[in-house]
């Protein structure tokens, strides 16, 4: 079997469409040292790729898990905003794939540090947060 190019947006889009059509929630593919976990959320043909680990963040900052286009349009919300651990704050768009940026703990998100649609890199600060009141 030939190796899959996990960076190919067309491949990820096709996989997401196939999963949606088959009514499957997700798939995990391992290939040599690489692992892709693709999870379909809702009925959208868009897929969400969940990453297993991210960079260590400063205590009061949420950082990007990977390089991507910072996409706040998908999760409209006002700041400041109280969130629970695991809540999605924004997404990083990589081709047709949206990678959620989640709150690592319950906190108050006070400020967004990135312009909408900006290209951000791994570890770039995205949000200022404060401890949950």
């Amino acid at each position: 079997m030939s190796k899959l190019d996990f960076t190919d947006p067309a491949l990820l889009d096709a996989l997401a469409a196939a999963l949606t059509a088959a009514g499957v929630d997700g798939i995990e593919i391992e290939q040599s040292s690489r692992r892709l976990r693709l999870v379909v959320e809702g009925k959208s043909t868009r897929a969400t790729m969940r990453l297993e680990a991210g960079p260590a963040s400063a205590a009061n900052i949420i950082t990007a898990l990977m390089a991507g286009i910072f996409d706040l349009e998908t999760i409209p919300s006002e700041l400041p905003r109280t969130v629970r651990a695991g809540d999605i704050l924004a997404c990083l768009r990589v081709g047709p794939v949206l990678v959620p940026v989640r709150a690592s703990r319950a906190c108050m998100v006070t400020r967004c540090l990135v312009d909408r649609q900006a290209l951000v890199g791994f570890g770039d600060p995205l949000f200022d947060i404060e401890a949950h009141p």
Partner: protein, 462 residues
């Protein structure tokens, strides 16, 4: 056109280059791109995200953690970065993924241009047996020994060694960097050496394939720099001597190699160009030879830009990186062989952040720096006062290059330049380099690849 590459041999135009490397070579490639009017995307790891040179790129994007495996060696992350930034080409620099056939293929499959040879060329030259076979077919002189893998039959192996003549060296076909090899001086030790090396090769390189060659006792390390386009044109840009090595790591390089007559090396270089045409090679490459008793013996071809390319640039008066990029764009070579003229002599010292006695890598902050300047002096470096040398990567922090009309003048110029060079706050190998340029045998020229290690042992014993 946009950043997407037009992926044909004739027209592979691109306007944005992603530089998949770090440090001095990333900066060197960036400058070549700027001079050609190309936009640049520089990637970095978390450890390099504060590097000042990043600001010189049109985009500077962190792609992963400090570990090279998760950043500079992470093919997926680099490809993603290229896609998101609209890069039409990727320059791998040296080290990291520069000789990874899979990376070259993935880039080209994705519709971008790999600034380097094809995956097939990299694969051929990365397999020592296949490379030797290709070289023999082109008439490139090789070390005595078969161009096939050693058989399993011990008697057959003994027969091959007897025919070559002891001492012989047993090497892993997929090895490199001094690993996976053993010297055997007599028949009684051959079988054990083959067994140990085979197991080491299996574990370290994923293949138990071995080959055997005559072991040369006091060779010099001589290189021939080539440049090839996709239209069948190939030229060589002179030769270098990189014999001043420690544990197979080059410390000082020079061009041209002293004491080698042009009429002796020219036919060897012509055979290298024949080999390039036979395998359809494109881009820059270096043929490495051992040289002993007036004879050349091919050891390997590096299918990438070399760390020591500046000494050739200084003597041949050509920007090798720019030429490499232009070839990748599908342009024919601007020079024919008759246009290549080498003049004067050049030395390069690799400045490493390491203890000059123990050679242990020395991370830390550079608190002050003074670099030489003037006619014939060039410094390729990314460091500055306040720069933090990370502990994660190669210890090379800069290259000091001098060029002068003669070897003696270049030697004296390097000695002077080293005296003017100061890097505070971290340990460097500058004291070692200064001592080397006070050495009479090195000044005379022609020292072999064992000279530095012997010299170091004598110094530590004194």
């Amino acid at each position: 056109m946009s950043g997407d590459a037009t992926n044909t041999q004739e027209a592979r135009s691109f306007d944005t280059v992603l530089i998949a490397n770090r440090g001095e070579i990333a900066l060197r490639v960036l400058r070549a791109c700027k001079d050609l009017g190309l936009k640049t995307v520089m990637i970095c790891s978390q450890a390099d995200r504060d590097a000042q040179y990043g600001a010189l790129a049109d985009r500077f994007l962190c792609i992963g953690p400090a570990s090279a495996g998760k950043s500079y060696l992470n093919q997926d992350a680099i490809l993603l970065a290229a896609r998101m930034t609209g890069a039409g080409a990727i320059h791998p620099g040296y080290g990291f993924l520069s000789e990874n056939a899979g990376f070259s293929a993935a880039i080209e499959t994705a519709g971008m241009v790999f600034i380097g040879p094809t995956a097939a060329s990299i694969s051929t030259m990365g397999d020592k047996i296949a490379a030797k076979s290709a070289m023999m077919a082109a008439g490139v002189p090789c070390v005595p020994g078969p161009d096939t893998a050693l058989p399993d039959d011990p008697a057959a192996v003994q027969a091959i060694a007897a025919e070559i003549g002891y001492p012989v060296i047993v090497k892993a076909a997929g090895g490199g960097g001094g690993r996976g090899m053993r010297v055997v001086h007599e028949a009684g030790h051959l079988q054990e050496a083959v067994s140990l090396t085979r197991e080491e090769a299996r574990q370290a390189f994923g293949s138990p394939a071995l080959y055997m060659e005559k072991f040369l006792q006091h060779p010099r390390h001589i290189e021939i720099q080539v440049l090839c386009d996709v239209h069948g044109n190939a030229i060589w840009l002179g030769h270098r001597d990189c014999s001043m090595q420690r544990r197979h790591q080059k410390v000082v390089e020079e061009a041209p190699a002293p004491g080698i007559a042009p009429e002796r090396i020219a036919p060897v270089a012509e055979a290298c160009l024949t080999a390039c045409r036979l395998i359809g090679y494109r881009g820059v490459g270096t043929f490495e030879f051992l040289y002993e008793d007036g004879e050349f013996y091919f050891i390997e071809m590096n299918t990438r830009l070399q760390v020591e390319h500046p000494v050739t640039e200084m003597t041949a008066d050509i920007d090798i990186v720019q030429a490499q990029i232009q070839v990748a764009q599908g342009e024919p070579l601007a020079l024919g062989q008759g246009d290549v003229v080498t003049e004067g002599h050049a030395f390069e010292c690799r400045i490493n952040a390491e203890d000059p006695e123990t050679f242990l890598a020395a991370a830390g902050t550079i608190t002050g720096i003074a670099l030489p300047s003037g006619p014939g002096i060039r410094v390729d470096t990314h460091v500055h006062a306040g720069y933090k040398v990370p502990a994660y990567y190669d210890s090379l922090i800069g290259k000091l290059i001098v060029h002068a009309p003669s070897r003696a003048e270049a030697f004296a110029a390097m000695r002077s330049a080293l005296a003017q060079t100061r890097i505070d706050g971290i340990a460097t190998n500058l004291p070692l380099l200064r001592a080397l340029f006070d050495d009479a045998a090195f000044a005379a020229g022609g020292t072999d690849i064992h000279y530095l290690e012997t010299w170091l042992k004598q110094r530590s014993a004194a």
